[in-house]
């Protein structure tokens, strides 16, 4: 209510408005301008809404039942009425716009009650009695959209013969139930952490199976499949390949589809680890959220994380997605589309696909409304942008934060090694001006931009940023391992203690053996720093090199360095008077594990205590002031490494 009032009164330039209230706001006149709601259905975003069916419980362990339920969902009503047109149809767990998206072999579950009944009737002939089953649909208290969806499900699924109940739980209990599979059906949404299908496959499709060996063989003749696997468990036709999965061994006879090149995936199951994951399953973590224990598809999911060949990776991902769809493991309600909601005087707002708006280029027309804000005597004039939103960051420390409010702030106040230009999906240089991989892709090198400083507004002080700060920032996330943090995004893929800072001389020696630079779809083996920098078109100063040691080659690793956890903070600010000694003991970043003496795991760490309340800035804005639950004041950072951009574009300096 308050947000909308502030927005309609012209006090706020942008407001977080729920879809159900957009109609109350759209086209409201404000001083000759209008509040705009622009929905661009052609521009999908990567947030999805879905229904989890607990496949560890009856009757959701029966694929046909799941399919029938999927056909008995009134998608049109949900998308148009409940989501207010902000979502579009979604049929695959990897949404449109993401690498690995496919429509090939996908069943489009539209609302079709007759078909749902037909499937149930067929099951009845085999002795299945829907009347025996009580299905309870759960959602979290206060989410009106989910309440409405639950009511629709109750209505339509009852008509199939099931007894359907709806229960609402407080957020803690809802989470607890979902985490521990203490539910039948749950309604949820998902925002990816980074732009890769792995961030959908692992939380949803992976069946908790672990493997001691995973291999793939490309272009295998049908007759040769038996050379790699002892049994064909899955043969999935994708757009370009047929993907065959089975346990490692020999003797399998292939009788599946032909006519396309075959990729054979062989696996050796790690029974001990798999049993451990299944013993006390935790949704999203030790198994996908639906508890679907499909070993061959799990093999595809796990393998897809390591395959560097984009064509093979796409085929493997497609195969997993197709099976997941065909067996209706989850009911996918919709995929978000781009919805822009701001006053018509606001210009150059953009929304990177990783979900958060960025304000670095925003400006307002000179005739923008002028209003008192009520905060610190500040007027909302054309030089000020006011966002009326809800919620509050749990912390200002990027090492802890794993929620939208915090990440949106970090997008404005920190620079990461790489970022996205506007709404594109390929990583671009930010604090790393160039990067390269070792030939086996288990080492990632970032050449760090020179001349960057971090601004500490609390003491009006600056700190120079170099490669050590970049490594320290990332290493610290893993070391702190704060509860609820996204530390896994580093620890799952990077051995931080084996990572190190290199001088440019040391890097040149590594370059001499040839490193692979990949940028904007181009790939080149480079052997000198000049060659690497010119590949990226960079001519300015540099500030050292960081080498990250990966646990295994992980194709989307660069995307992780675009996220908030990769926000670069100055090591000197974090460690204070221990900075010099910590730096020396680590041999200036050669041995980061030496920093363990100065950074303790958990929330009692002094650097966490400092940064959770007093963030610094390496980005376009800094936090100038805040009062919990009331306001956060961001100001343009005059020390921002790219501050000249504003002068070039708009002719002003902060």
């Amino acid at each position: 209510m308050t947000r909308i009032s502030l927005y309609k009164a012209g006090v706020a330039d942008i407001a977080a408005v729920t879809p159900a209230r957009w109609k109350d706001v759209n086209l409201t006149p404000v001083d000759g301008h209008k509040l705009l709601l622009i929905i661009d259905k052609e521009k999908p975003r990567l947030t999805i809404q879905y229904i989890i069916l607990n496949t560890m419980r009856e009757p959701f362990n029966i694929p046909e039942v799941r399919q029938a339920l999927a056909y008995a969902v009134p998608y049109g009503t949900i998308l148009d009425q409940i989501f207010g047109g902000l979502y579009t149809s979604l049929y695959t767990i990897v949404p449109k716009g993401m690498f690995g998206y496919t429509e090939y072999g996908i069943i489009k579950y539209e609302f079709n009650e007759a078909k749902a009944r037909e499937i149930i009737d067929k099951l009845r002939e085999q002795g299945f009695d829907p009347g025996k089953y009580s299905i309870t649909v759960i959602y979290n208290l206060g989410n009106t959209a989910r309440a409405q969806i639950a009511a629709l499900l109750q209505n339509f699924w009852t008509r199939l013969g099931f007894k359907v109940f709806v229960e609402v739980y407080s957020w803690p209990e809802f989470l607890d139930r979902v985490d521990h599979f203490n539910f039948d059906v749950a309604i949820l949404g998902w925002i990816p952490d980074y732009l890769d299908p792995d961030n959908y496959l692992m939380p949803f499709v992976w069946g908790g199976a672990e493997f001691t060996e995973l291999k793939y063989y490309k272009d295998v003749a049908p007759a040769d499949v038996g050379r790699y696997v002892s049994k064909v468990e899955r043969a999935i036709e994708t757009e370009k390949y047929i993907v065959v999965v089975g346990p490692k061994g020999t003797g399998a006879t292939y009788t599946g589809p032909t006519g396309k090149p075959i990729i054979v995936v062989s696996y050796v199951l790690d029974e001990e680890k798999t049993a451990k994951n299944w013993e006390k399953p935790v949704a999203f973590v030790t198994i996908g959220a639906a508890g679907w224990k499909d070993v061959p598809v799990s093999a595809l999911v796990k393998l897809s994380r390591m395959v560097l060949d984009p064509e093979v990776r796409a085929a493997i991902i497609n195969a997993a997605v197709i099976v997941f769809n065909n067996e209706a493991v989850m009911i996918l309600l919709g995929q978000a589309v781009t919805g822009r909601n701001y006053g018509s005087w606001v210009q150059n707002m953009y929304y990177p696909l990783s979900a958060f708006a960025r304000y670095d280029l925003v400006w307002e027309t000179p005739d923008a409304p002028v209003r008192d804000t009520g905060v610190l005597g500040i007027k909302n004039d054309p030089q000020t942008m006011v966002i009326a939103t809800f919620g509050w960051p749990d912390t200002f420390d990027p090492a802890k934060s794993y929620e939208s409010f915090g990440w949106e702030i970090f997008w404005q106040i920190y620079s990461k090694p790489v970022t996205y230009r506007y709404e594109e999906i390929e990583p671009e240089p930010e604090l790393a001006v160039a990067w390269a991989f070792s030939e086996d892709a288990t080492e990632l090198y970032f050449v760090i931009r020179g001349g960057v400083v971090a601004y500490d507004p609390w003491n009006d002080k600056t700190y120079p940023i170099d490669a050590t700060d970049v490594l320290f920032s990332c290493w610290r996330v893993v070391r702190l391992n704060l509860p609820g943090s996204a530390a896994w995004m580093f620890s799952d893929f990077i051995d931080m203690d084996a990572s190190m800072v290199l001088t440019e001389e040391e890097f040149k020696q590594e370059l001499a053996r040839g490193l692979v630079a990949v940028y904007r779809g181009r790939e080149k083996v480079v052997k000198s720093l000049d060659e690497l920098l010119s590949f990226f078109g960079y001519k300015g100063p540099t500030a050292g090199v960081v080498k990250f040691k990966l646990h295994f080659p992980y194709p989307p690793i660069l995307h992780i360095f675009t996220t908030a956890i990769a926000s670069v903070i100055p090591m000197e600010y974090a460690l204070g008077d221990k900075y010099e000694v910590a730096l020396a003991e680590s041999n200036y970043g050669k041995n980061p594990s030496a920093w363990a003496k100065y950074v303790v795991p958990g929330e009692d760490d002094p650097s966490y205590r400092l940064l959770k309340d007093k963030p610094v800035s390496t980005g376009p804005y800094y936090v100038a002031d805040y009062r919990e639950g009331s306001y956060i004041l961001l100001k343009l950072n005059r020390y921002y490494w790219n501050a000249t951009l504003w002068e070039q574009l708009y002719g002003y300096k902060p």
């Binding site: 739980y169 407080s170 008192d372 804000t373 530390a487």
Partner: protein, 352 residues
């Protein structure tokens, strides 16, 4: 029994009362299904190792009474920490409480200004059109969902007429706040009291002569204050009306009339006697306002105790809930004590 003994006895009951309230609150919170630690650490993926650390820290692996004892001990040592923001719970409370005090004062002023005059008028004009409207007003105030009233007040007085603000809370200048805070250090006794009073922004601003901030505070808070006054004023008016009518029908008023006292003096006598139940209700109302008006603070975007409590409840934030309950319990027992003392001031027949 003298006032001193009465006070001593009442203060002695404070401790078991407050502990009893804390225990009941804790047991209710503890009994709610779900994993509070999971709610504290965030809504995305579980990190079992880090989660276990939090469980250990907050004694979730111990029996409930040990955990309760831990919370209470930490609270008494002023070491209890908000598990989400990792701040001392009292830091959070003392940041929010002064704002709630401001709102409570403004709301209370409206409550009294609306409730008491209406009640008196209704009693004087018993069974008239005015009385009828006061009774309707009381009924509507009691039965109208608060958010409906808030919505229309915001629409009219903010969106259309801009007579108030809905963001931020006016604060005295940094220098003023520093000066107020320094009072406690410079003048041990009176300075501590002055500093505590000055921590309420509008009082602090007034102490520094920053009357612009006081005016801004009233502009910011008059709308929620008015809303709270409108919602509860009708109830107060009814209490005043009925109590005054009771008093007017008593024998001493008949005697006063027989003696030929002026109407004004008769009304004065009756009103003083009628105020005893009114003070009780006003006291409870003020205590309620000091405990944070949850819906009003949310609707009018005021970062006070009500919102803190609401946010804590939605995230099963036990430490904040317990600390807030502790404060609320102290407020209520104190307000009740003050009300009891006021009885004696209003009604000389009451002795302790």
């Amino acid at each position: 029994m003298g006032l001193a003994r009465f006070l001593a006895r009442r203060v002695a009951t404070f401790v078991p009362t407050v502990i009893g309230v804390l225990l009941i609150t804790y047991i209710i919170a503890y009994s709610i299904p779900g994993d509070p630690v999971r709610a504290w650490v965030g809504e995305k993926l579980l990190n079992p190792e880090a989660l276990e650390r939090v469980r250990e820290k907050y004694k979730f692996n111990a029996p409930w009474y040990e955990q309760f004892a831990f919370f209470v001990t930490q609270l008494m040592r002023a070491e209890l920490e908000d598990p989400i923001r990792h701040r001392n719970v009292f830091d959070e409370i003392f940041e929010r409480f002064p704002i709630t005090v401001e709102l409570a004062i403004v709301g209370f002023v409206f409550l009294v200004a609306i409730g008491i005059p209406l009640g008196i008028v209704a009693a004087i004009k018993k069974d008239s059109v005015v009385d009828f409207f006061v009774r309707i007003f009381a009924l509507v105030g009691s039965s109208l969902p608060a958010f409906v009233l808030y919505y229309y007040l915001i629409l009219i007085l903010f969106v259309y007429t801009r007579t108030t603000e809905l963001a931020g809370v006016p604060l005295p200048s940094v220098q003023c706040r520093a000066m107020v805070a320094s009072l406690a250090q410079n003048y041990p006794y009176i300075g501590t009291v002055a500093s505590a009073i000055g921590s309420v922004p509008m009082f602090g601003a007034a102490m520094c002569g920053e009357f612009g901030v006081v005016a801004e505070t009233f502009r910011r808070l008059y709308l929620p204050g008015l809303a709270l006054g409108l919602l509860n004023g009708g109830f107060i008016a009814r209490i005043v009306r009925n109590s005054l009518l009771d008093a007017l029908s008593s024998e001493y008023i008949l005697y006063a009339k027989a003696r030929g006292l002026s109407k004004l003096r008769i009304w004065g006598h009756a009103l003083k006697n009628a105020l005893v139940p009114v003070v009780t209700v006003l006291g409870i109302n003020f205590g309620g306002l000091l405990s944070g008006a949850i819906i009003a603070e949310r609707a009018f975007n005021i970062p006070g105790m009500g919102r803190l409590m609401y946010e804590a409840i939605t995230r099963a934030n036990f430490p904040i809930v317990i600390a807030c309950t502790f404060l609320f319990a102290i407020i209520y027992v104190t307000v009740n004590l003050v009300v009891d003392i006021l009885y004696a001031v209003i009604d000389p027949r009451i002795r302790y």
